[in-house]
């Protein structure tokens, strides 16, 4: 339950007691399942970085037109001086 509350804080989630209990149960199931997988000996298996077996796709360093300021801010609840206006978050990261 501690883990659930920690993740809740990180993800800014507000869960009811019943929801927390359900999350705790689901998370334990997942962790138990992964623990079981980890019992396998994978020393000889090459790591899978990605499930797709395609080659990477590159972009050349070319500028392409984007959105106008008007379009960029179109869905902003509040704006000012060409910027998104948001409540101040004092926390420094």
């Amino acid at each position: 339950m501690e883990d659930v509350e920690h993740v809740m804080k990180l993800a800014r989630l507000d869960l009811s007691a019943a929801e927390r209990e359900e999350m705790r149960r689901q998370l334990s199931d997942i962790l138990e399942h992964v623990a079981k997988l980890q019992e396998l000996d994978t020393a000889e298996v090459p790591p899978t970085y990605h499930v797709l077996k395609t080659r990477e796709i590159w972009r050349e360093d070319e500028v392409r037109p984007g959105l106008s300021q008007e379009a960029a801010l179109a869905n902003a609840p509040r704006r000012r001086d060409g910027c998104f206006q948001v409540p101040r978050v004092a926390e420094e990261f």
């Binding site: 920690h6 804080k9 990180l10 800014r12 970085y49 990605h50 797709l52 395609t54 080659r55 990477e56 796709i57 590159w58 972009r59 050349e60 360093d61 070319e62 500028v63 392409r64 037109p65 984007g66 959105l67 106008s68 300021q69 960029a72 801010l73 509040r78 000012r80 001086d81 060409g82 910027c83 998104f84 206006q85 948001v86 409540p87 101040r88 978050v89 004092a90 926390e91 420094e92 990261f93």
Partner: protein, 476 residues
């Protein structure tokens, strides 16, 4: 008790690409807010990032120049946190499989040369910019969000604020020489966070680490570290604990202060970025980039010492910036005396750059200007003293030396007849000093030469003035 200082640096450099890391928006500075944005860098739903090939190439180039091993497979991860400078609520970064590891930067210390290990070099995207309003809200400009950024982390192997500064200077020089970044700390294209701790001399265990942020210049890095070392030393000597925390450097007061920060703030819940494939970096690509590396600062410094006979210190100063080193080479191509070239570049030029707060790219001065001035000095047309004024004018206006000399009437008076008239006047006006000299007081001559210089506003050829005065004053 004796304490040992342990410092590590985390440097962020914006890559000088035309477009952003994962979208085609321009990466240049200075647009109106939110005019260099698109659905990808705004974090709108349903978009996919596509890596910029040149950004990866630049990072590989930097990694090779810093003697790192480049990974054959590298991967992006999501670094999750909530802050309005990141519209996606995560930053695409690299955690488990960085692009490169295990390089080094060489610095000079009083105890001899030292190699500072680079732990890792990885790619990530820059964040947007916040402007905090007095009323409590913040304004968000996402033009910088998604600009390619390279993070370079040193091992905690630096043992003084001076070493930290030297490491940073050297790192900056390498990035500038390889052309991968503009490396301007003042504009934020080069940023530096430091972590510093103290431990009893000889102890293997690290003390509590303090991270210091908001360092916007080389001077700030050194001053903040000096302050922080003293603060921690005072705490330890008073038998108090150093708190593990992030502190903010305040330039105005010259002190650091703690920033409020919750414990879970640094739990970023990294996980592999599912929208991007791992990058496979072929050995051929790496070798091709390696073969195109330019002459790096360390090698250039050696050349200036070994071939031009400059002192280590001078060579280090001249090669710390590529523009300065290039100017030195261009001057030497047209002028034979290394010492004259280095004296002027490190003296007058550095002084004026400092005084005007500009860098070489912003002044019209070229090697031709300097070479022209030195030739006029060698020909005796221009005195060393007046040359400084001529230099200042060239620095300011970009006019060549001959033009400035003509305009300022700064050419040296080497004409005997012209100077003899001045000498006569000076002798007539200073009978007492003349009598002193004739009475055997040799220093009196210096005063008279000074008077001749003054009369000619510094233009008299001093050797000629000296000889003419002696001729005049020789006992009948």
């Amino acid at each position: 008790m004796n304490y040992e200082v342990v410092i590590g640096l985390e440097v962020h450099a914006e890559l000088a690409t035309r477009s952003k890391m994962f979208c085609g928006c321009p990466a240049v500075f200075g647009g109106q807010p939110n005019t260099q944005v698109c659905p990808v860098c705004l974090g709108l739903p349903g978009v996919l990032p596509v890596p910029n090939r040149r950004a990866v190439e630049f990072a590989i180039r930097a990694a090779l120049a810093l003697n790192c091993a480049v990974a054959s497979v590298t991967r992006f991860d999501r670094k999750n946190y909530f802050y309005p400078d990141l519209p996606k609520a995560y930053q695409i970064s690299q955690y488990q499989h960085p692009l490169a590891k295990g390089g080094y930067v060489g610095i000079a210390t009083p105890a001899g040369p030292k190699r500072v290990t680079i732990q890792r070099l990885h790619l990530e995207e820059d964040t947007g910019k916040l402007l905090h309003l007095p009323g409590g809200d913040s304004l968000v400009d996402l033009n910088r969000a998604g600009v390619p950024l390279m993070e370079i982390v040193s091992e905690p192997e630096l043992s003084s604020p001076q070493e930290a500064r030297d490491y940073l200077m050297q790192l900056k020089a390498v990035l500038e020489y390889t052309g991968v970044s503009d490396v301007r700390m003042e504009e934020g294209s080069l940023r530096c966070d430091v972590n510093v701790s103290l431990r009893p001399a000889g102890s293997a265990e690290l003390g509590n680490l303090v991270e210091v942020k908001n360092l916007n210049s080389f001077r700030a890095v050194q001053r903040a570290l000096e302050h922080e070392v003293e603060r921690q030393r005072a705490l330890l000597e008073a038998n108090r604990r150093v708190v593990r925390e992030t502190r903010h450097w305040d330039e105005a007061s010259g002190t650091t202060f703690a920033t409020r920060s919750k414990e879970e703030a640094h739990d970023y819940r990294y996980f592999p970025e599912p929208d991007l494939l791992p990058l496979e970096i072929s050995p051929e690509w790496v070798e091709q980039i390696r073969s195109q590396l330019p002459e790096l600062p360390g090698k250039r410094r050696r050349r200036l010492v070994d071939e031009d006979g400059l002192p280590e210190h001078d060579a280090a100063v001249l090669t710390a910036s590529k523009r300065m080193a290039d100017l030195y080479d261009a001057c030497r191509a047209g002028y034979p005396d290394p010492k004259t070239v280095s004296n002027w570049l490190m003296g007058e030029l550095a002084r004026l750059l400092n005084a005007t707060g500009r860098d070489l790219s912003q002044v019209p001065l070229t090697a031709e200007h300097l070479i022209g001035m030195w030739r006029l000095m060698d020909q005796g047309v221009l005195s060393g003293k007046l040359a400084k004024a001529v230099f200042e004018e060239m620095f300011r206006t970009g006019k060549d030396a001959a033009t400035v000399v003509r305009e300022q009437g700064a050419s040296q008076i080497s004409d005997e007849a012209q100077l003899a008239a001045v000498v006569e006047r000076v002798v007539a006006a200073n009978p007492k000093v003349v009598a002193d000299f004739r009475g055997g007081k040799e220093q009196a001559l210096g005063f008279l030469v000074g008077q001749v210089m003054r009369e000619t506003r510094g233009r008299a050829n001093p050797e000629l003035a000296n000889r003419l005065l002696r001729d005049q004053l020789r006992p009948g």
